[in-house]
């Protein structure tokens, strides 16, 4: 029967020990342990959040890098294209300039030739005229060398006048 009956002395000691134990544990032990554990879980949560943030940052950084790369590539392409165009244009320009120059030279040559030709023709004409005059003089001299011939000529001229 006394197995299930509380004993006053033991109750007193149990109460005393338990209350002292609870006081010491609460004041000096549970509080520091729980606060450290809380601090740690906060730290872990913070670290996790930081990691997540860093990850997002890295992602955006990567995206930015990619964009930058893409832009650079596009720029490079544009520059290369420009350069090509410029080169082609330069060649084209050079070609055009050369053509114009050559044409100019040809035109100048042509003009010179033409003027030379004209000069030559004029010279020739002068020469031919002087030759003709000489020839005509000689012919006239021959024609007028005898009386008979002068007479015949006079007649002929007279005949021409008549006919007119």
């Amino acid at each position: 029967m006394d197995l299930i009956l509380p004993d006053f002395g033991l109750l007193f000691w149990t109460g005393l020990v338990f209350i002292i134990l609870m006081f010491i544990l609460t004041k000096f032990i549970w509080k520091p342990i729980l606060s450290s554990v809380n601090a740690r879980s906060e730290k872990i949560a913070e670290a996790l959040e930081m990691a997540e943030k860093t990850k997002a940052e890295m992602k955006s950084l990567q995206a930015a890098n990619e964009n930058l790369l893409k832009e650079a590539r596009a720029e490079r392409d544009a520059i290369v294209k420009d350069a090509k165009e410029t080169a082609t244009k330069m060649v084209e320009d050079a070609k055009t300039a050369a053509k114009v120059e050559s044409e100019k030279v040809v035109a100048a040559a042509r003009q010179t030739i033409a003027s030379e030709k004209a000069a030559a023709i004029a010279e020739l004409k002068t020469q031919v005229a002087s030759f003709s005059i000489e020839i005509a003089e000689k012919i006239v001299r021959t024609e007028l060398s005898s009386d008979a011939k002068q007479k015949a000529l006079a007649e002929k001229m007279a005949g021409d006048i008549n006919l007119n």
Binding site: G9, L10, L25, I29, P32, I33, L34
Partner: protein, 388 residues
Amino acid sequence: MRQILKAFNRNTRAMALKNRINYVFITLLAIFSFSTVMANTPEAGHEEGKKEEKFNVGEMIMHHIKDAHEWHLWGGHHNSTSIYLPVILIDGGLKTFSSSHFYHGTPASSIDHKTQKPVDYMVGVGPAADYAMFHEKIYKLEGGELQFEGGHPHNVKPLDFSITKNVLSLVFGATLILIVMSSVARFYKKNGAVAPRGLAKFIEPLILMVRDDVAKSNIDKHKYHKYVPYLLTIFFFIFFNNLLGLVPIIPGGANLTGNITVTFFLAVCTLLVTVFSGNKNYWGHIFATPGVPLALLPIMIPIEVVGILTKPFALMVRLFANITAGHIIVLALISIIFLNKSAAWGALSVPMALFISVLELLVAFLQAYLFAMLSALFIGAAVEEAHH
């Protein structure tokens, strides 16, 4: 309930894995218990020419699970070695003397007034001369003897504040808790917010389990902080003392958490915490249960008031019965050897007792967890706000 079991399962598994060394250590201690339990029992007929002492299993077991004024170490009735603990009586002033004055006192016998049969008891000598001890209880002598009626003395009992076996075990358990926990607290103070190592690694999951699975999940999340120290203390107090009870050698082996006085005190603590934390909503449910017709209230109120008391009463009985039953089973199984007077029976009784002892390790944890869990549940119900 399933969730409790699952949580419990998870925790024990984690504990078993993480702390295999501790586990093995405790198991070894449990194995040791057999040898001392054997030593505890009277010697079985080795002394020739002497009448064999009859081995009384019931008496041996009852003697073990009850409190005592001595700490029996080894030996039988005639050649036992014990530590005699101090007796402190308040009976017209403070009286302190060693309990050996009773154990080595004068054997006496009185005739029971009812059954007319003689009853044996011990009358103290020296400073204990005015007192007698019967079944570990101290009585004041009346006319030089005890007056029995129906097997119980009717003499006056002086206020007995003796440092009994359970009190010593209690102080040792409390000291052990303080040593272990202060070492854990020191670890955190020294290292700050780092991953636990060593002892802290073993204790921290338990602390977190009590805080999260016991307190946080049962008590309103804005109020649970206040009750965590109490729940932690009660959990570790029961857990450590349960385990100490399984250690057979001094300073373990006292049936402290299987003592009704201790479980009564712990249950009263939970009752007081519950009653003093009760809010308007809680008392409203007791004295004016919502939705109950007014005519039924005269029936409902007494039921609810009794309900306040039955909850901690169940806590008290559960812990007492579980721990005491564990001790009884282990002792009964070991007694098989002594009943049959043959060590060969050890082949049967030792494996069975080992199995029960290992089971008791589980029970030691489970009962501590349940006590804290149910306390949290009752407190949670008392501080719950109305949410209809």
